[in-house]
């Protein structure tokens, strides 16, 4: 059991191969001694034996997408037996509920490991460390992002100043056509941000693109951010390329601006520093090899699109606490070839997937 843990939990500096992680994850999650009730019971109904037949990343396509079941399965059934009795209870995080009732995952350290790596990527972007505090405009509650940012602040010697936000409420306002209430709520959030920025030594900011745009509309607040903040992290909603360009070159030209793609189920996939020949302004990397992003042909989900092409995002997580072998995300993105220093493909120009059905409301988070 500890051997398995050694592979699944290895720090990202000493990366095992992706296929080694796949094999270890199959052994861990489907062995009745270490796996969760959810997966061990599910194995009986699968037309293959995961511990024997699944050895490569590509083999993971044989799994069904079970993430929707994680809207109502009891969390006890999700916790691998091998992680019980460690003297720690898992944290349980919920997705934002953009596409329906929230999904839940258990976490005993995967997010923290992910955040440590993210913080190192931010160093490469030139974000300040040990020099000023972090203002966070985002949700706490059942959502993981505040906890991740609290950890990030700790890693960078920053005091964490959160402004709380209820994304489900905002989305509900927008769904019900109450955009004036949503706007009022954004004003309320920005008032709180202004109090913190006025009085505190803030050098780092996390906000969503709609909130950054709203900041840009308030001259005094935008001035405070320009004067104080040296590193801006954006995430949680998509942004069109022109708005991103304006935010980083015209509105906040002196701050490092770096995006984060991710969600509760897949973790944080930070923007990597640009390399020569990048055609996309913003390429995200998942927490390889524990989280993989594949770009699948929307018309033939068994086929991965070529580099430079757009596909539907498929996420696979193979951490000690979570096995999600095949989750079709709500997004589409462009597949980008790997670069030195980062494992796995990059993804760029993430946009909400539309199949012509109901429009996805991203809200302000």
């Amino acid at each position: 059991m500890r051997d398995v843990d050694a592979v699944l939990g290895t720090p990202w500096h000493e990366l095992p191969s992706a296929d080694a992680v796949v094999a270890a994850a199959m052994e861990w999650h489907f062995n009745p001694a270490t796996g969760s009730r959810f997966w061990v019971e599910r194995a009986a109904s699968l037309p293959f034996d995961p511990r024997k037949d699944i050895t490569t990343l590509a083999d993971l396509n044989r799994f069904p997408d079970v993430s929707a079941e994680w809207r109502d399965v009891p969390v006890e059934d999700l916790l691998p037996a091998g992680l019980r009795g460690l003297g720690r209870l898992p944290s349980v995080w919920e997705s934002g509920g953009t596409t329906g009732a929230p999904k839940r995952i258990v976490d005993l350290g995967q997010w923290e490991r992910n955040t440590c790596w993210w913080s190192e990527v931010l160093d490469e972007h030139g974000f300040p460390s040990g020099d000023g505090n972090l203002l966070f405009l985002g949700p706490s509650g059942p959502h993981v992002v505040a906890e991740a940012l609290r950890g990030l602040a700790r890693l960078r010697g920053a005091v964490f100043f959160p402004v709380d936000l209820d994304p489900r409420w905002v989305r509900r306002c927008l769904q019900d056509g109450q955009s004036d209430i949503a706007r009022h709520y954004v004003d309320h959030l920005l008032d709180q941000a202004e109090w913190v920025l006025t009085s505190q030594n803030i050098s780092l900011l996390y906000a969503t693109p709609p909130l950054l745009e709203a900041i840009a509309e308030r001259p005094r607040l935008a001035g405070l951010v320009r004067d104080k903040v040296r590193g801006i992290m954006w995430g949680s909603t998509s942004i069109d390329p022109e708005t991103l360009r304006l935010l980083s070159t015209e509105v906040f030209p002196d701050a490092a601006v770096s995006g984060l793609y991710g969600n509760t189920m897949m973790g944080a996939a930070p923007q990597r520093p640009a390399v020569p020949d990048d055609t996309e302004p913003c390429v995200f990397q998942s927490f390889h090899p524990y989280v993989h992003l594949s770009l699948l042909d929307p018309d033939d989900l068994s086929r991965e699109v070529a580099y430079g092409e757009r596909g539907r995002v498929c996420m696979r997580q193979l951490s000690p606490e979570v096995l999600l072998p095949h989750v079709l995300e709500r997004d589409t993105a462009m597949r980008v070839a790997p670069v030195p220093g980062f494992g796995g493909d990059g993804v760029a120009d993430v946009q909400p997937f539309s199949d012509g059905g109901k429009k996805i409301i991203e809200g302000v988070y």
């Binding site: 745009e213 840009a216 509309e217 069109d240 390329p241 022109e242 708005t243 991103l244 360009r245 304006l246 935010l247 015209e250 509105v251 302004p281």
Partner: protein, 497 residues
């Protein structure tokens, strides 16, 4: 199916200039700006014709802030620039675009006959020249303009209600852009969101205005998505928008946004006037400039023999040639075939059975194997189709099909009886009255539901710079306020209290 006739100039690329597809940039006060977000627009055959830079809301805000922050340009300079810009628009090569190239691009993408753009050249020139006179004519006689105000005056003064006008421009006809030139004369900074059907006219206007010496901060071209168009109106001080009944209803109570909707222009012919003598005026009202303007008549009320008039009008319009938009003799609108087919199906389902009048010599029922809706358009064989004129004969102006407006020559003909009053018209932008009944004409002029009245052989679409279109724009953009200046002002005799 008619073959596509030879065009006068031959076709090369969709953009019509033989070069690369057209790149329509955002025009900021600092110059052209190519956005990272772009979309392809198509010509009337459905082929890609160029790319539009799309301005997200943040860019719209940035540009509007730049416009507001720029210093004011004196009125005399602005008016001189407007006059010069009109000439440049009509005659000059602007950023490499000749007037001919502009007309051709405009026609191929909008699907309008190229003659519409040609006429617009001259109309812009005349409007520019007339700007100063228009300005003076629209000002209340009791008020002085701001730059004529002296410190010691006590007077009504004519001032702007805001600084920036946001325009969501329509694509039905290039001359609609004449309207916002009036706002520039009044001192507004004008940000225009062009239609994908006609980005060329406002681009050429902006180029001409800047070339003519209007300060760059007075104009901006902000292409954006349908979704974000509203951001322009929200961020501007006042808005001018064009659309259907839904748009008009939405802004009906707004003091900040002026919505211009369907014109529902009409012709009224009473018994004592023989309609046969005025068929030219009627047909011209319906079909001039491809029948796409709000000023084109879409309904005819005729007291004597309305069915005969409907038949004669159908025959007349049925002889109009079916040509691609860049042909010099083209007179009808051309749309992508799919769109024409959808429209034809709707027509077939609505008026097709009840009242469509077929021109003499055609069969009302097509060959059994063809789609009956096909009689409403003519396939040009290149992915586009001409929308055929349509005349519908109705029993009464109360018929629900009366008052419909369609994007091609269309007229519903209904009987008029003396007991009907102008209230039977419904909302009407322009009415041509052919009648000896002076009191009826007067009643039409007085009716708040009829915006413009033409008497006699003046087609509904006739206009001249300086005359109100749907009211004078200044009535929306300006207001009078009191200025009582100097210590003596309060000492003079005032009203009681």
């Amino acid at each position: 199916m008619p073959n596509r006739p030879e065009t006068a100039t031959g076709t090369d690329t969709a953009a019509g200039t033989g070069g690369a597809p057209d790149d329509i940039t955002v025009e900021r006060p600092s110059g052209p700006y190519r956005s990272a977000a772009r979309t392809t627009f198509t010509d009337a055959t459905g082929s890609p014709a160029g790319e539009l830079s799309l301005a997200p809301p943040l860019l719209i805000r940035q540009v509007l802030n730049e416009m507001r922050a720029a210093p004011e340009q004196p009125a005399a300079e602005r008016l001189a620039a407007l006059a010069r810009a009109g000439e440049l628009f009509a005659t000059a090569t602007l950023d490499g675009e000749t007037p001919d190239a502009y007309c051709r691009r405009q026609a191929l993408v909008s699907g309008l006959p190229v003659s519409a753009a040609r006429r617009t050249l001259d109309r812009v020139a005349r409007t520019g020249r007339a700007a100063a006179d228009t300005l003076a004519a629209q000002r209340p006689t009791g008020a002085v303009p701001l730059d004529a105000l002296s410190a010691g005056d006590t007077t009504a003064v004519w001032v702007r209600k805001g600084d920036v006008l946001g325009v969501l421009a329509p694509g039905n006809h290039p001359a609609t852009h004449l309207e916002w030139l009036g706002a520039l004369a009044l001192g507004y900074r004008v940000a225009v969101r062009p239609s994908q059907r006609d980005p060329f006219t406002p681009r050429r206007l902006v180029r001409a205005l800047r070339e003519a010496g209007l300060a760059p901060a007075y104009t901006a071209l902000l292409p954006t998505t349908h979704e974000h168009a509203e951001a322009l109106v929200e961020q501007a001080d006042l808005g001018l928008v064009y659309g259907g009944d839904g748009v008009v209803a939405r802004y009906a109570d707004s003091r900040r946004v002026l919505a211009q909707g369907p014109g529902r222009s009409k012709v009224l012919i009473t018994r004592e006037v023989p309609w046969r003598d005025h068929l030219d005026t009627v047909a011209d009202s319906v079909a001039a400039d491809a029948g796409v303007q709000c000023l084109n008549a879409s309904a005819i009320l005729c007291e004597d023999d309305p069915q005969g008039l409907a038949r004669a009008l159908a025959d007349r319009l049925g002889r109009l040639p079916l040509l691609p938009p860049d042909h010099p003799d083209a007179v009808l609108p051309v749309r992508p075939l799919d769109e024409a087919r959808r429209l034809a199906q709707q027509l077939h389902d609505t008026v097709g059975a009840v009242g469509a009048v077929d021109p003499a010599g055609t069969q009302s029922v097509a060959a059994p194997e063809t789609d009956p809706a096909e009689r409403f358009f003519a396939d040009l064989g290149d992915g586009s189709a001409v929308l055929r004129p349509l005349v519908v004969s109705l029993d009464s102006p109360q018929d629900p099909h009366f008052g419909t407006e369609l994007p091609f020559p269309y007229a519903a003909v209904a009987p008029w009886t003396p007991d009907l009053r102008p209230s039977a018209f419904g909302r009407t932008l322009s009415l041509t009255v052919l009648s000896e009944d002076a009191s009826l004409v007067r009643e039409c002029v007085a009716s708040p539901r009829i915006r413009n009245v033409h008497q006699g052989d003046v087609p509904t679409h006739w206009t001249r710079p300086g005359l109100p279109h749907d009211g004078a724009l200044a009535e929306f953009l300006m207001e009078s306020k009191t200025f009582a200046g100097g210590p003596g002002a309060a000492a003079g005799p005032g009203p009681a209290g």
